[in-house]
Symmetry: C2
Subunit: 342 residues, 2 copies
C-alpha cells in the first residue's frame, strides 16, 4: 500500500482532502546513502520553515506509480509537485531518472520543482539515448523548474533542456547543525565504493601514513551497511548520529560531496577529492571556497598533500551564511503564493 509521509514518523495511506495547499515531494529514497537521506530531510525543513502554508507530503520513490494515480485524484491548481534533489540526474542511476521522468510528465499544469541536482548524461550511445527520453518527458511540462546545485550542471541542464533552470546550493546546506561542540580526536576517511570513485587506494594509504602519528584512523562510507533501509521514519536520528560522529573528528578525508557538507555543518576540517565527473569539485568552488576549514584538491603528490593536510587540520570554524543563495527558489515559491493568493 502506498505511503504518504505527512509527518516524518508515521506514514498514512490516504491523502488528506482538506483545502490546505499541498507540496508533494516525490522520489524520497529508502536506500542507505546518508547524503541522499539528508537531502530529503533538508527539503522538508526548508518548506516547513519557509513556506508553512503548504502541507508537506513525502512519497517514497518505490511508491511513485501508485502515488501519481492517487495525487491526480485530489490535485488542486495551487498544489506544488517536486522531485528529490541530489546527484543522480542522468543515465548513471537510471531507476531514479525513470521515476523522475514519470513525475515531471504527470502533472504538467502544476508548478513542478526539481530540487537541486547535479546532472550527468554520459557521452555514449546509451547515455544519449537516455537523454532523449528525458528531454521528451521534461518537455511535456511547461511549469517545470529544474534547479542546478553547481554551475557545471546549470550549463549542462540549460544545454540539454528547454525548461526553466534555477541555480541554488545543495539543499543540505540549508540545515544548521547545533550543539556539536565536542572535543576532537582522530581522522576519518570517507570513500565511495561505486563507479564514481577515481582516487587510488595507494594514495589513500599514503594519506593514512601522513595522518597516523598516534592518531586513531577510521575508514567508512556515508552509505550505511548497519541498516537495510532508511525512510522518513528513521532518517533523522541516523543523520544526527553521523553529524555527531563527524563533529568528534580532527579531520575528514573524502571523495563524497555530502561528507564535505557534513564537515561544513559540524565545523570539521575536510579535504575533498574528485569523483568521476566533477560534481563535488564544482559545487565546492561555487559555494564553499570561502569556508576556510574545508578545501578541494586534484593533487596526487603525497608531499604536497602533507603540507595541505597539516595546514587544514589547524583551522577552526568561523561564521558562514549560505541561506541567501537559495533566493531563486524562495522567489519562485513567493511568486506562486502571490499568484494563488496563498
Amino acid at each position: 500500500m502506498v505511503k504518504f509521509y505527512l509527518q516524518e514518523k508515521v506514514p498514512v495511506s490516504v491523502l488528506p482532502s482538506n483545502k490546505r495547499p499541498k507540496f508533494f515531494s516525490f522520489g524520497i529514497p529508502t536506500y542507505t546513502n546518508l547524503g541522499d537521506q539528508a537531502v530529503s530531510l533538508a527539503q522538508r525543513r526548508y518548506i516547513e520553515n519557509e513556506f508553512p502554508e503548504f502541507q508537506f507530503i513525502e512519497i517514497l520513490e518505490e511508491d511513485t506509480d501508485d502515488a501519481i494515480t492517487a495525487v491526480k485524484e485530489i490535485l488542486q491548481p495551487a498544489d506544488v509537485v517536486s522531485f528529490v534533489g541530489g546527484g543522480n540526474m542522468g543515465n548513471v542511476y537510471l531507476d531514479h531518472e525513470i521515476a523522475r521522468r514519470k513525475v515531471f510528465a504527470a502533472f504538467p499544469e502544476n508548478l513542478t520543482i526539481s530540487f537541486p541536482q547535479s546532472i550527468n548524461f554520459e557521452d555514449t550511445p546509451a547515455g544519449q539515448t537516455e537523454l532523449k527520453k528525458s528531454q521528451s518527458a521534461y518537455a511535456k511540462n511547461p511549469n517545470l523548474f529544474l534547479i542546478a546545485r553547481d554551475a557545471q550542471s546549470y550549463h549542462r541542464m540549460q544545454t540539454a533542456f528547454d525548461n526553466h533552470v534555477l541555480f541554488t546550493p545543495d539543499m543540505v546546506l540549508y540545515i544548521q547543525a547545533r550543539d556539536l561542540d565536542h572535543s576532537r580526536s582522530g581522522a576519518l576517511f570517507v570513500f565511495r565504493h561505486d563507479s564514481e570513485k577515481v582516487i587510488a587506494e595507494d594514495l589513500i594509504n599514503s594519506l593514512k601514513e601522513i595522518l597516523s602519528n598516534g592518531r586513531p584512523l577510521k575508514r567508512t562510507d556515508t552509505v550505511l551497511d548497519t541498516v537495510k533501509r532508511i525512510t522518513p521514519s528513521n532518517r533523522r536520528e541516523l543523520i544526527v548520529k553521523e553529524l555527531e560522529w563527524f563533529s568528534r573528528q580532527e579531520i575528514i578525508i573524502t571523495d563524497r560531496w555530502h561528507a564535505m557538507i557534513f564537515s561544513v555543518l559540524t565545523g570539521t576540517p575536510c579535504l575533498l577529492f574528485g569523483n568521476s565527473y566533477g560534481k563535488g569539485k564544482h559545487a565546492y568552488f561555487d559555494w564553499l571556497e570561502h569556508i576556510e576549514w574545508v578545501t578541494y584538491t586534484d593533487e596526487d603528490d603525497p608531499q604536497r598533500l602533507k603540507k595541505l593536510i597539516n595546514s587544514l587540520i589547524q583551522r577552526s570554524a568561523h561564521e558562514y551564511d549560505v541561506r541567501k543563495d537559495f533566493r531563486q527558489l524562495d522567489r519562485l515559491l513567493q511568486l506562486h503564493k502571490e499568484r494563488f493568493s496563498l
Copy 2:
C-alpha cells in the same frame, strides 16, 4: 555635450522622443581595455539581435550625470535601464562603482539590469565602507536585477545585496567570431600590469623558455597603448583586429579573463593563470571547462606546466554552444515584453 550612441558610429546629442521602447546602456567605457570594450559591444549585439523591439542607446561612463538628467525627461514605463558588465563591481575600481550607484538609484520604477559582473568588495575597512554605500544605493531600486558572471560572484552578490540576482556568462561569450581560419605561428603572452596581477615574472620567463624553440614569442596586454581612447565609434575595428591577431597564434598564455574568451572565440589554445581574486578561475570552471582548447591552472612548477602546455598546443577547436546559458536574462526581458505588450 552629452553623447547618445543610437548607432555605433556617430553619436547624437538629443534623445529621440519617438514611441519605440528604449534600452539605455549606461557606463560604456572609453578606456583602452579591449576586454571591457568587447563587453559593451556584446551587449549591443545581444539586445539588437534578440530584442529588436528596443531602441538601443549607449551612454559613455563620463556622461553619466548629464545623461541621467536627460533620460529622466523622456523615460517611459516600458523603457529598460542598464549598466555595463565586466569585472569591476566593488571598491577596487571605485569610479565605476560610483557611476553604477547613481544609475541604479536614479530610475527605481524601471526595469534596471546590471549586465554580468564579477564582484570584489575587499575585506578591509575601506572596502566595507564602500560596500555599505553600494548597499544603500542598490536598495533604492526594487526593479534592479544584478547578474553574476561566475558562481562565486553570484554567492557574493546574494550575500551582499537584497536585489534579485541572476546567473549568466560574461556577455562577450555571446559573440560569435567568423572567418578566422588563418595559419598559426608563435606564442602570445598576455599579462596584466595592474593590482590584480599575481603571477611572478620568473614564472613567465620559464614559460617563455618552454615555448621558445624557434617559435616567435610576443608579449602584450589587452589594454592598448596604441590608442588613447576607445568609444562605440572605433571599438569594433580594434576588437576585430585583436581577434584576428589571436587567431594567428599557436597558443595564448595569459592572466586576463577576456584573453581567454578571445581564445575561445577564435579557437586558439589558451592557458589562463589566476588574478588576485579568482574572477577568471571561477568563470572558467563555470562555463568553459568543456571547451578543450582552453584551460586554467594554479600550477607554478615549470616541469608540470611544460607537460600541460605541450598537450594544450596540440588541441584543435570543436563546436561549442553557450548561447542557452543566457536564458535567465532572455526570460527577464521576455517577461518584461509580455508585461508591457511589446
